[in-house]
Amino acid sequence: MKSFIAKAAAAVIVLFARAVTAVRAIWPEEGLPSRPCVYFANHSSHGDFVLVWAVLPPRLRHQARPVAGAEYWLKSPLNRFIGSDVFNAVLIERERDKRTEDPIAQMASAIDAGSSLILFPEGTRNQSEAPLLPFKSGIFHLVTARPDIDLVPVWINNLNRVMPKGEIVPIPLICTVTFGSALQFGPGETKDAFLERMRSALLALSPKPAGSGE
């Protein structure tokens, strides 16, 4: 019964997201990897993973699990229902000293179980004027644990304008979700070089600002 309600809720949330944002996916030429992978995206809104989830083809969607902060998604029964039951999120504890579980181990075991992850390496929602914050090192520790995993950069455009932090009414604006070609961890790559390479691969997918002319 609960799983039926969760499925119905997922369908309603996705329908609502599509009705408001008319979201459109842009795929890389070679398509997405069919084996489990890590989608890493820019983060500016609570709705980010919903959009990525909504545009993924059904087969890939069912194996995709967003990685989200446990503090927020366990805050209330409704948050808990949406986070764990509807979207089957991998809930990690962000505050290091209060942790009871190792987030990297949680993510790695989800991958081992055949799931893909939707990850936001900025670690928090970007409220600044900068297009992308520096990456946290979690994604690096994940690839050192699972070096063969495919990493797919995903740029979510415009959702921060649809629903900025603190607003309750979404503004209907057209959003796009651009998937880049899959990347892999290079042998012997240092943490800084790897994070910088991932960050620039993601930035390369962002569109030029509107009104900037030709």
Binding site: V169, I171, P172, K208, A210
Partner: protein
């Protein structure tokens, strides 16, 4: 069967005939010139024809559903067009409530006023009330950065996508003696003439186009396409006089005004796209681009057509 529905039926049969012919031509062209899908213009042509089928069926369903169907259809068109427009303009956090009001208050209210047949308030609601109230909502948050540009762009979006577009269904509210119960055919006349003019300009341009008419704005538009499209669409408009309250000459003259406004509307909307560095307004309609790409000429001609008919024909 009433005269209106039998005329509508004849019209629908005619449109289906044209679409079947277009699909057949598209199919032959594809077999001959692009069997593997390698010719982009032919693939685009066929995508456009397919989209036309869908648009014709949707409009047909709205017509069958009557006044409420037409209002809902154009209400949704306004909503989707406004969404395409606002996506491209300069807005800031401070405009959040003003934009929410534009989508969730102004759009439904404008169409409700048509439903309630309150012409007086319908015709000034956006140019007066929205014009004054939207900047007030925006200013309350105290953000002055690019303020004039922001409020001007939102008002322009509302005028084009909601106010002007709502003048298509507004044709239903006109009271024309001897034409009772047939107003939906006026909408058909307007939409058919404008859209055929666009299509014919494209076809004439592809066949005989040599001289660019506005190279800076729209490199695909040619003098030959413009002249051929306007003349042929005007003649088709005259030939459609039997669905209107007009004589053939009047129908031709009105069609001429409609096609001219449509052409210049297309130019204006192209200039905005150039300014924003985009090719299409969106991706809603396969092969055509966004909804505004298809609606731009209708939006510019609808209010003029409405007011000419209202002044000379309506009570």
């Amino acid at each position: 069967m009433s005269a209106a529905s039998s005329d509508l039926l004849t019209l629908v049969a005619g449109i289906f005939g044209v679409l079947i012919l277009a699909s057949a031509i598209g199919y032959v062209l594809q077999q001959r010139l692009s069997p593997t899908g390698s010719n982009a213009s032919i693939e685009n042509l066929n995508a456009r024809i397919k989209a036309w089928w869908i648009m014709v069926v949707l409009i047909g369903i709205a017509f069958v559903a009557g006044r409420i169907g037409v209002l809902i259809l154009f209400g949704f068109c306004s909503f989707a067009a406004l969404r395409e427009f606002v996506t491209l303009i300069n807005t800031r956090r401070a405009d959040h409530w003003a934009l929410a009001a534009a989508f969730f208050v102004v759009v439904p209210l404008q169409y409700y006023l048509l439903w309630a047949e309150q012409y007086g308030i319908f015709s000034i609601f956006i140019p007066v009330y929205a014009f004054l109230l939207m900047p007030i909502i925006s200013v309350l948050r105290g953000d002055t950065e690019r303020f004039l540009i922001r409020i001007a762009e939102v008002q322009w979006a509302l005028m084009i996508c909601v106010f002007c577009a709502s003048h298509v269904p507004a044709l239903l509210t006109l009271n024309i003696p001897g034409y009772e119960g047939r107003n939906v055919l006026l909408i058909a006349f307007l939409v058919i003439v404008v859209q055929l003019s666009d299509v014919l300009q494209y076809v004439w341009g592809k066949l005989f186009g040599r001289t660019k008419i506005a190279p800076k704005l729209s490199p695909s538009k040619t003098v030959e396409g413009f002249v051929g499209g306007v003349i042929s669409a005007t003649l088709i408009g005259a030939a459609l006089w039997w669905i209107t309250p007009f004589t053939p000459v009047q129908a031709g003259l009105l069609a001429f005004v409609i096609t001219l406004m449509g052409f210049f509307g297309g130019l204006v909307m192209s200039a905005i796209k150039r300014d924003r560095g985009i090719k299409d307004w969106g991706n809603l309609i396969e092969g055509h681009g966004g909804l505004i790409d298809r609606l731009d000429s209708v939006v510019f001609s609808a209010p003029i057509f409405f007011h000419i008919v209202r002044y000379w024909w309506s009570l």
